[in-house]
Amino acid sequence: MSGHGQFLKTVRIFYSKTARAKYVSHLDTMRTITRALRRSRVPLWYTEGFNPHLYLTFALPLSLGYEGQCESFDVRLTAEMDLDTLTKRINAAMPMGFEVLRAAEPVMEPKAIVWADYQIRLLYAPADREHARQSFEVFDSQPVIEVQKKTKKGEKMVDIRPLVQTLSAQWGETGVALTLRIASGITTNINPTLYLKAFYQWANREPEGVRVVRTAILDENLREFC
């Protein structure tokens, strides 16, 4: 089923990664999806050369422990196939927590990605909640939020305030639900954990639990990556 030689076209597969699957790291996700694609017996293109491997590229890695609702990867078809059938076939081969949502021909290039939206829940013990809420208000209103960021050249201080927009913060029974829009993509990529850790430090409190879901991947005009 799988072929070498010329490929017909590139297809972008959109999928979600939720529940137990959020504990599969990016590297392991690539291996897991490679195997799922092999099982699906969709006619996919392999690279040429001494050690042929499946052509598979991901738009934007998702951190370990985060759920994603708008993840995507590209593959190449060697034969025509109806995209609904392709979606069903790949879905049937995916492990628990990985669900193919749709397939389409790519419109944007991954380098167009500039922002990603995250929904984050921080769970606090009742005793810590009020302190955390008050701390967050002050922390989030700072004009500058400097954090240490690891780069290839070592660690440096970065002001992440312009790179993280707080779209909403709702405090409730168990803690807070945040919606953050965070600089993402190949030029500037910020992990939400950088911002969250800076806050924990500021508040001098760790939450009891953290739940992070990536809900959208956007270009510079805030259009959804497609």
């Binding site: 137990r20 291996r31 799922a36 370990l64 422990g65 492990p95 927590g97």
Partner: protein, 621 residues
């Protein structure tokens, strides 16, 4: 279900995917619709356990029953264990994420002695008493199998019943009996008494052991109608026995991450140090047609791009050539690699060799086990220096530049000349490389020698032998190091500490149960991982019981001594082991099973309803 509680701890641990299940082909069932919930426990971390073929077989076998739901359980690493204890998360099954203490049956596989404290730790993490006598209810029944069950005495106080031999049939019989017990409200004792009547089931609490003043065993007395000896189970016909159509495919990388086909069981070689070579007898092969079908199924259901042909000695598989002829066309078409044994491929057709050469090259490894021919004769390792040299030559000419050789130190009758022989053999391989005009150009050669410390094991001709002391091992290691005079030879060894403990536990008696428990209480677990192993815990636990390592490890045992495993029958007779021991001391080899039957007794395991010729050893093609 513990998912919510787990989410708060999993973000704090290394490799959280180990602890959450959800892999492809893992089995979930409606717990209301099953009669028996079974926890299959592997007493080591996920990456080790998930590499184990036996677990894959028994997991699928049990889940093939509608009335049973079998889940997988592995030992948590230290970070996860600490968080589990801190947050009151009991040990759970990876499929349901529910505590296993409420399951009906808990089964451990004992693959190596150093896992014993991990078994206790897992029972404790589950919230169960570690001692069998303190778990009084029918459920959960705690059982164990695997190679170490051939002398399970150091675990006798913790495990309700042991399964001896191959598990495909007896596990199902035990589940059937359990269902009857559950319906009939039997006590645990009633269940164990009835289970002990099944061939291959050993219930240690039904045997009383008495000791002589010198510490050796005086008698093992069966009680409550238990049989005098317990005979291991085998599967007579490997072509009709259950084999999974799919494997659980891990989401993280594990040690052996590929499809595995078991081409044969047992071994014709009879290397005298090798326990597996005796306890898995008789030699039985699967037909190549069965294997080809299994291989296709697994590839299709797993998406794996590699298949290995596993067994104790795959190069002895008599249908290797037809198997490869069938497998190579479809595997190469689907970009699936075949892992093959590197030895004994010399009599294949040139076409086949060319096909095999296309498969990715892994390193070349050999296990001569000993450095001199005399020593190899003693251990009955029928590999000659010429064969090693010939294979190395072929390999070097084919582009290989590195060879890895496995040896053992401390083999019975070993002298310093034999130790030096290891360095000499490695040197000869280096010299061979440079003497070849066809050697890979511009590259040096690298010969790695790895020397393990010999551990005498039950049911081998060396079960009577003393192990070298740690001091003797050190002396030999230092001497071997001094014999190596080139940087082209890379020498790897480890201290004999765990090997000594393995020797103690492998041939130990029931008095060691208290030692295992004492070591665990002092913090021992995952002892096979050097970062977790601390010998002082064991030293203290031994001293506390007034026991001495050397009694178990370094003492020569008389042929007529009653061994702790004397009442367990693995088919090979004690007379045969004594015969082989004497031949070893006379530097005399025994032909392999294909050349001549050595009358080990294993063919008797086929029993009365003998459906196949003894051993099914066919003439070498």
């Amino acid at each position: 279900m513990l998912f919510d509680a787990l989410q708060n701890v999993l973000e704090k641990v290394q490799k959280p995917a180990r602890y959450i299940g959800g892999e492809l082909n893992s089995v979930t069932k409606d717990k209301e619709k099953v009669d028996v919930r079974y926890a299959f426990c592997f007493p080591d971390v996920y990456e080790i356990g998930m590499s184990h073929l036996g677990m894959k077989i028994l997991y699928s076998l049990k889940n093939a029953r509608e009335d049973t739901w079998c889940e997988r359980v592995f030992a948590p690493a230290d970070d996860m264990e600490a968080l589990m204890r801190e947050n009151d998360i009991p040990l759970y099954g990876l499929e349901s994420l529910e505590p296993i203490r409420n399951f009906d049956m808990i089964g451990f596989t004992l693959q190596y002695e150093m896992c014993y404290t991990t078994v206790l730790n897992m029972l404790d993490l589950a919230g169960l008493p570690v001692r069998s006598s303190q778990r009084t209810a029918l459920a959960p029944i705690v059982m164990a199998g695997g190679p170490c069950a051939c002398n399970p005495e150091p675990m006798a106080d913790f495990i309700d019943l042991f399964v001896l031999g191959e598990g495909e049939e007896v596990n199902l019989e035990l589940i059937d009996l359990y269902k009857v017990a559950k319906q009939g409200n039997w006590t645990k004792q009633e269940y164990l008494r009835k289970a002990a009547q099944i061939q291959g089931v050993y219930v240690p609490s039904l045997y009383a052991v008495s000791y002589r003043e010198d510490g050796t065993i005086a008698a093992v007395t069966p009680e409550e109608g238990a049989t005098a000896t317990v005979r291991k189970r085998i599967i007579a016909d490997l072509d009709s026995v259950f084999f999974p159509e799919s494997f659980v495919v891990p989401n993280i990388e594990v040690v052996h991450d590929r499809s595995m086909l078991e081409v044969l069981r047992g071994c014709i070689r009879g290397c005298r140090f090798c326990q597996a070579g005796f306890i898995y007898r008789p030699f039985r092969e699967k037909r190549h047609t069965t294997l080809n079908k299994d291989g296709k199924n697994l590839t299709e259901s797993s998406g794996y791009d590699e298949i290995s042909l596993t067994s104790l000695s795959t190069s002895d598989y008599s249908e290797l050539e037809p198997l490869l002829t069938e497998m190579i066309p479809w595997t190469s078409c689907e970009n699936v690699g075949l892992s093959l044994p590197s030895l004994r491929i010399d009599n294949f057709s040139p076409e086949l060799l060319e096909q095999i050469a296309k498969v990715r090259k892994s390193g070349l490894t050999f296990a001569p086990e000993a450095g001199t021919q005399r020593m190899r004769d003693v251990i009955n390792k029928n590999i000659t220096e010429d064969e090693v040299m010939q294979t190395c030559r072929t390999a070097f000419e084919g582009g290989y530049t590195s060879v890895k050789l496995y040896f053992m130190l401390g083999l019975p009758t070993e002298t310093m000349d034999d130790v030096k022989g290891i360095a000499d053999l490695a040197q000869q391989i280096v010299d061979l490389f440079y003497s070849l005009p066809e050697r890979p150009k511009g590259k040096g050669v690298n010969v790695t020698i790895s020397a393990a410390c010999f551990v005498p094991k039950p049911f081998t001709p060396f079960e009577f032998e003393p192990q070298d002391t740690i001091e003797e091992f050190h002396r030999k290691q230092e001497y071997l190091k001094s014999c190596i005079r080139t940087k082209k030879i890379n020498y790897k060894y480890h201290s004999g500490g765990t090997s000594m403990l393995e020797a103690v536990l492998a041939r130990g008696d029931r008095r060691l149960c208290a030692v295992v428990e004492g070591a665990w209480k002092r913090g021992s677990r995952l002892d096979s991982w050097s970062e977790f192993y601390d010998p002082t815990r064991w030293d203290e636990a031994m001293a506390e019981q007034g026991l001495d390592y050397s009694f178990y490890a370094n003492r020569r045992r008389d042929y007529d001594e009653i061994s702790p495993w004397n009442h367990l029958d693995y088919g090979v007779s004690k007379q045969f082991l004594i015969r082989e021991n004497k031949l070893a001391h006379a530097d005399t080899t025994t032909p392999n099973c294909r050349e001549k039957c050595a009358a080990c007794g294993a063919s008797g395991l086929y029993g009365e309803k003998e459906v196949l010729p003894p051993c099914r050893v066919t003439a070498n093609s």
